[in-house]
Every structure is written in C-alpha cells, then in structure tokens.
C-alpha cells in the first residue's frame, strides 16, 4: 500500500498558510460539545491539551507520573531552535527548514519540516509570554547559542534547563485550564489499550496506578503524546518510566509504526559505571561549544589525561570535520566516538569513553564564564562521577537518547487510523533519520501549540464523529482484554523480574541495533528476541496485587511491549539496506566511515502494519519527494 501524507502542494513557503485558510472550522459554541483525549503531558501533550481547552474543547489528559509537570521533556537541557534571526547572522525559516531536512539525512517530509520551521518563531513568542525565563542579554533582549548541525545561532535557552522551563510554561497553561474546569487531569493513570470503533479511534482503556482500576474513556478523538521508545535499550537517557506501551497498543490496534529503526544515539552522555547502572545521564550537547573532544593518539594509553601531551592527543572530530569540528551532528559524533573506542583508544573504566575537555575554554574565557554557562551540568557530572571537570576532562560516551521513528502520521498529525492523532516524539514526522539538537522541544511545542489546534478542528468539522457510549461491545471487549492481560502478568509465578528481561533485550538491541548495525547482527537479534519473549512468557515473576500500586506490574506490561517492538526495529533496520542518519548499516559506508544512502531504493518512509501475534508485519511505503531541497550527500566536512 502506498501511504498518502496528505501534504499540501505548491510553493513550500505558503503551504501551511494556504492549508490554514482552507480547513474547516468548528463553531465556537460547538467546541464544548467535543471531548478529546490526550495521553501524555510533556511538551506536546501539555501544550496541545492547554491550547485545545483554551479554544473551548473538553479535554481529558492522562499521564503515568504523579503530576503532568514531571514528563520527561523536563530533562531536555540545551535549548530550542527558532528561526528568529535575532542575531542578524543570516538565519531564516528557509535555513532552519534546510538544516533540518539535511540534518535528517533527507528522510523527512519537506512540508512538515517547513511548517515546523515557520511556527518555530511563534513558539518563542508564546513561551516568553508565559513567563519562560529565557537567557537574556544585558539590554534585555533574548540571548542565543549555537548548536550541533547549524552554522547560525538560533538556539534559545534557559541555562541548562530549557526543557524544564518550557514544560513548566506548558504545564502552567495546562493547570490554568484544569483550574478553569476545561481539562480533566488523570495523573498516575496509564493507557493500556486503544478503543477502535468502526475503524475510528474512539477512546482508551486505562489502569489507575494507585487503585488498579481498569477504566474506559471515550472521546471524539484520541491524541497520543507519549514520547519515544528509547528505553528499549534499557540504558538510555530517558526517564525510567518512559515506555512505548501507548504507541505500541495503538499499533496493535491498527496504527502503522514508521521507521522504528531510526534511533538517535546522543554523543555526550556520562559513560556506564557498572552493571547496576539504571540509566544514563546526558550532558548537554551545548558543552561541545566550549569543550574539545579527544582520545589518546595511541591505543592502550592508560596515562591520566593531564599527562598526555598535546601532540599525543587526537582531536578526532576537529580532524575529520574541520568546518563543523566538535559541533558535528549527533549521529556522526556518536559513531566517531564508537570508532575510536573500537580502535582501543577509549578512556575510563571499560574503555568506552572519550574526553570532553573544557581546559582550553577555561583558559580562554575564565572559569567564571564556563561556570555561568554550564555550572549546573558540571555539578551534575561531579555528583555522578565524583570527578571535577574544572580540573579533569569529562568522560563521555554515546547513549540512546531520542527516537525519530514513531507512529505514522499525515500532515494533519493523524495516523492511518482515523481519529488517532500522534504528537511530539511519539510520531515519526519531522526529523527524518536524525534529529538536530534543540529541535525536539521545537517539534513537541509546534505540534501542541500551533498544529493540532488547527488540524483537530478540521477533523472534527469534517468528520463529525458519531456518538459512542461505554456500553458499546467493542469497549467492553477491549476492557476485558486489558484485564485479562493484567491477570496473566500477575499469574505467571516464574522466577525473573521484569527488569532482568528488560536488561537482556536492551543489551541485544544495543549491540545489534544500536549505533551501527549489520545484516548478520540484525538476523541474530531477530532470533534472540523471540527467545527472550518466550522466556518472559514462562518465567516472569510479578509480586503484589492488582488492586494497588504495583510498580513491578507496570514494568512487566511495558517490558512485554518492548519485547515486541525490539523485533520490529530489527526487522526495519534489516530491510532498510542503506545507511542514513541514526541508522548506520556497516555494509554501506565510505572508506572513511561516512554513511552512504541509497536514495534510489530507500527514499521513502517505511510504515509497518501489525498483522497479529506471531505473524509477519507488513511494510508499507510512503515515497519522499524533495522538490525544494536537493537530495545531496550530507557533508559536515
């Protein structure tokens, strides 16, 4: 099946405004008659729910945390891009559009990306008005920094806590609507299934994580803003609770999963310290502005960093990519780190680490300036490792961080399943095969503040979804299936914890479907994962009851879904026989290790259809056409 992204045609710079002029609108007094369901309360979810409620719709929001303010968007450090050109350095909507398409290695939709670049400027305005305390210049104007993959300064930031501040802005807007009675909030509530009636997404089944109560919630449309699936690797920079369950359950109910193999490995994380490690901590990429990345020139050099003379250091990013240097895009930087570690030149315990050295910047700008810029990051590093970056170079290593793949959506952010909308990281739409730094916050907020309010109105006005109530047999059926699944997880009485399975599948994924993949490895993974799944089905142990807070039960349900997703990721990675962005197939690289795309065969989106347990999923394609940016080899040399 050829998928249709429903993108507007014509000149790219007027597509979105023409679309907005042509869509159908819902009469203000009719808006309150619609009920919308939003799952997730991060940047996309909170901003979308608040904006829709401001328009007059009834919105119900669900999140697994105890408060919507805790969604993992909060952990984004570096910043948010916007084509404001406040710095007068030649930035423009076109350039942001171009950089994003190129950064995504020409695997994203031009129309979506251009819209993203256009609304980026409105996001900054909105956030400033909400009271987001962005960094300022002495004159009171907004300050910018530069970020990987761009040659202009277009990143707005609030110290190293930009995600936190943007999320608090969206959260406050959401709480305002909760206070006004327009949004009903369901914290500590997990979506466990999607209710589809007559081919249309009509609601969700949830579990109250405190009482264990399984409940159905119906609405005129369902929106998923449930984030990415980076926790498939067990060790990632995601929060411990991040999971794929909502998206995966929707996938099992018919929503296509697009490009699952596109995962982003972030180059600057604190390396693994031991086998008890529960998560990895990211050090903002902005550190690369003032930190130089190096490893010893000689393999097996175990001297302390301070004792390695300048001449025996290899500043490999500066050497390989002279024009971008330490600011080369994430996928390139990550692979370069892996490469030097594979050569035996890695540093720290286990040899999986490279230095990020602030010494030169401290000498040039003074410790005070560095402290002002990165103080909280450096403190965090010191807390975790017990080492002082003002004296010793930091050790960093890549870690899973973001997933570009996700549920397939069209230009309206609607999946192939009518009435199911997917926002933010949970969808696949804007970043292609690689996301640029400071673009995730931009996309989440673009979807929530400025896209869904329009496209949702158009959907409701056009489709006028018929009434469904809780007594509908399909609702009862899905509810019963959820209850059944929960019972099954509790009744296995095996020996192993869900975490132990998660660690096992995570290791397979990291080794075979991580920073670099190859055919043999992926085939091994496709053997290994079903075996883990089978063992999971026999030997899982979940203690505690159903009608209470049961963190092991929650975890078990999520791991079960990761065990299915992992297989799909490997399958997608195997079929995509090219290297592009975050998907690096070792068979397809230049002699100096650069990714080689195959535009003839793979210039498309792969969207997978679930066909049932134990059955092969079906791969659909959506062709990508590049009218405004010419397909070119991505070069950051």
């Amino acid at each position: 099946m050829k998928l249709n992204g429903k993108c507007p045609t014509g000149p790219i710079d007027t597509q979105w405004s023409r679309y907005k002029n042509e869509i159908k609108l819902v009469n203000p007094s009719n808006k309150r008659k619609f009920k919308l369901i939003m799952v997730g309360s991060g940047l996309a979810g909170a901003s979308g729910a608040a904006s829709l409620a401001e328009l007059g719709y009834n919105v119900e929001v669900f999140c697994y945390q105890d408060s919507p303010r805790r969604a993992h968007s909060i952990a984004a450090q570096g910043g948010i891009n916007a084509a404001k050109n406040y710095q007068n350095d030649g930035d423009s909507v076109y350039r942001l559009f171009y950089d994003t398409v190129k950064g995504g290695d020409f695997r994203s939709r031009e129309s979506n990306v251009h819209r993203l670049a256009e609304v980026s400027v409105n996001i900054i305005d909105q956030c400033v008005a909400q009271g987001v305390p962005f960094a300022r210049e002495y004159g009171g104007t907004l300050s910018n920094r530069s970020f990987g993959g761009a040659q202009v300064s277009r990143t707005f930031y609030a110290r190293g806590q930009t995600g936190q501040q943007l999320l608090l802005g969206a959260y406050q807007a959401l709480e305002r609507q909760i206070g006004a009675g327009a949004v009903k909030m369901h914290p500590r509530t997990e979506m466990l299934d999607l209710i589809v009636v007559d081919g249309r997404a009509r609601g969700i089944v949830t579990r109250d994580m405190v009482t264990g109560k399984i409940e159905s919630h119906l609405g005129d449309a369902v929106m998923l803003a449930t984030g990415g699936y980076g926790n498939i690797f067990y060790l990632s920079t995601n929060a411990k609770g991040c999971n794929v369950t909502a998206a995966w359950r929707a996938h099992r109910r018919g929503a296509f999963f697009a490009n699952p193999c596109y995962t982003q490995i972030h180059p600057t994380c604190i390396p693994v310290a031991g086998d008890y490690q529960s998560k990895l901590t990211l050090m903002s990429e902005s550190l690369r502005n003032d930190g130089r990345i190096w490893v010893p020139l000689r393999a097996g050099d175990t001297r302390a960093p301070g004792q390695i003379p300048e001449a025996e250091r290899d500043y490999y990013l500066e050497r390989k990519y002279p024009s971008y240097g330490n600011l080369a895009p994430r996928d390139i930087s990550s692979r370069a780190a892996k490469q030097v570690c594979d050569e035996g030149r890695g540093v720290g315990p286990g040899g999986r680490g490279v230095y990020l050295d602030l010494a030169e910047s401290i000498a040039r700008l003074g410790e005070g300036t560095i402290r002002e810029r990165y103080g909280n990051l450096i403190e965090m590093y010191e807390r975790i490792t017990g080492e002082d970056p003002y004296k010793v170079p930091m050790r960093i290593y890549p870690a899973s961080h973001y997933t570009m793949g996700g549920l397939w959506v069209d230009y309206n952010l609607m999946s192939n399943l009518t009435g199911l909308f997917v926002l933010g990281e949970a969808n696949f739409s804007d970043h292609g095969a690689n996301r640029l730094g400071a673009s995730a916050l931009m996309q989440g907020l673009a979807d929530g503040y400025f896209v869904i309010p329009y496209t949702m109105g158009n959907y409701l006005a056009t489709e006028k979804p018929p009434k469904v109530d809780l007594s509908h047999p399909e609702v009862k059926k899905v509810e019963a299936e959820v209850a059944e699944r929960t019972k099954k997880l509790l009744s296995m009485k095996g020996k192993r914890s869900p975490d132990s399975f998660h660690k096992e599948v995570g290791k397979v994924m990291w080794e075979k479907c991580g920073m670099a993949r190859n055919e043999a490895g992926l085939k091994e993974a496709l053997q290994a994962i079903p075996a883990i799944r089978e063992e999971f089905g026999k030997n899982l142990s979940v203690l505690g009851g159903e009608a209470e807070l049961n963190q092991t039960l929650e975890k078990a349900g999520r791991v079960a879904d990761f065990l299915e997703l992992g297989e799909l990721m490997c399958r997608d990675a195997l079929v995509r026989d090219e290297s592009c962005g975050g998907h690096f197939r070792e068979e397809h690289q230049t002699p100096d290790g650069e990714a080689v795309r195959n535009d003839e065969k793979f210039c498309h989106v792969a969207a997978w259809e679930w066909t049932g347990e134990g059955k092969e999923p079906v791969r659909h394609e959506e062709a990508l056409e590049f009218e405004f940016v010419h397909l070119a080899t991505r070069s950051y040399k």
Partner: protein
Amino acid sequence: MSGNDLHLTLKVWRQAGPNVPGKLVTYDAPGISPHMSFLEMLDVVNERLQEKGEEPIAFDHDCREGICGMCGLVINGVAHGPRRATTTCQLHMRYYKDGDTIVIEPWRAGPFPVIKDLVVDRAPFDRIIAAGGFISVSTGNAPDGNAIPVPKSSAELSMDAAACIGCAACVAACPNASAMLFVSAKVSHLGLLPQGQPERKARVLRMIAQMDAEGFGGCTNIGECEAACPKEIKLENIARLNRDYLAAAVTRRPETGSGGAG
C-alpha cells in the same frame, strides 16, 4: 563486587496502602558499590527481595537525573539525604561508610498521604499551581519575544526561582510541613518578570488561599526548607511572597464583572 563495597543496614518504611498502619522494616544490604546512586542501591535491594519472593519496596522516581522532581526520600532524618543541593536520585553511595545504618522514610505531611511504602500523593502542589501559578496568555496571543525587554538580572533571579522541581522536599523538611518555599518560588518566578505583573497580586492571594485549604502549615522562618531544597531556592523568595501578599492584601479591590457587551 570489589573490596570497596559497602555492607549496609536499611530501615525502610513499609506501608501496604493509604489507610493502613506502616512500620520501619530492617533489611540487610551487603555488596553495595559506592558508585551506585541511592536509587540504584534500592533497585539492587528490590531485585534481591523479588528473588526471595518478597514484595519490592515502592518508591517514586522517574528521570533519575535530578530534574523531574518525582523522587524524594527522607534519609536519616534529612529530606533527599545529606548532600547539599542534591535530589535522592543524584545522591551516590560514596557518601556512606561500610557498616552504616540508613533510615528511609517517606515525605511526611498531612496533605501528602502515603500511597504505599515510600510513595506519597503530592497532588496538592498541582492544585496550588492551578489556583494561580500561571500567566493567563492563551496560545496565539503573544507579542514578539523581544517586544518586552527583560533586564538580565530579573531574568536570572526569575530563573533561580523557576528552577524549583516541585519535589516537595521543602514540605518534608519543614517542621510545620509548610509549602511556602514552593509557593514562593512560583510567585517569584512569575512576579519578577514583566509578563507576570498583571496577575501578580491576584496570583499570590489565590495560591496562598489554596495552600491553606490543602492543610499545609505556616512558615515560621526556620529555614529547613532552604537547606533541603535540591535546587537551592532561597528564603528570600518567601520574603518576596510576603511582600507581594501584603501589597495585594492592602490594595485589593472587589472584583468587577468584565463581560463585554456584544
């Protein structure tokens, strides 16, 4: 396991549900690496409990990088443990000695009932924000970001206050279980910016009214909140809140209807 591993004794608050009595239960915890985080130590203890067929200890946590505000334990009588400006998840076991006994309790406050073991309900914080902790600007209404210059010093002070992660350690540490530091952080964050001025007085009145309604204690200027705060929110914010409150109380006028005519 290495020679540096710690052998600890944990005394952990176990409580099966909201309305049942709980108690401190002692666990032996050998083989704890000093490089583990506090929560990783609990993970290890939980994994061992699970192996023995005992229910793991429930505790809240999510990002494990000190920003989401979900985790929070009172460790040996100190909210978030002994290290200054550090959340529980960022506390590492290298601050403990072999043979130490560690008492772990949940946040204790009337408005935060225990849900299970170390997990408490912090919903009152959301309700305080919903009562007025925002700037009323609907999507699409915003002027250009640079239209209103914000003095760098105001932006910085505002950011200091906005760094609050809503973990509620301030409440847990306060002998009165007062939420004043939390409320003052939000009042300061928004009140220090030009954008926050129109609602400044109503905001502080509403948030305090909600805080009182939730059953938090009052501030007696003791300073435990400031000492416990992982984001180093300052008592100065409470002074600012008080100032704003006084100004709002003195200059308050009855609300008048503002319905437009047609």
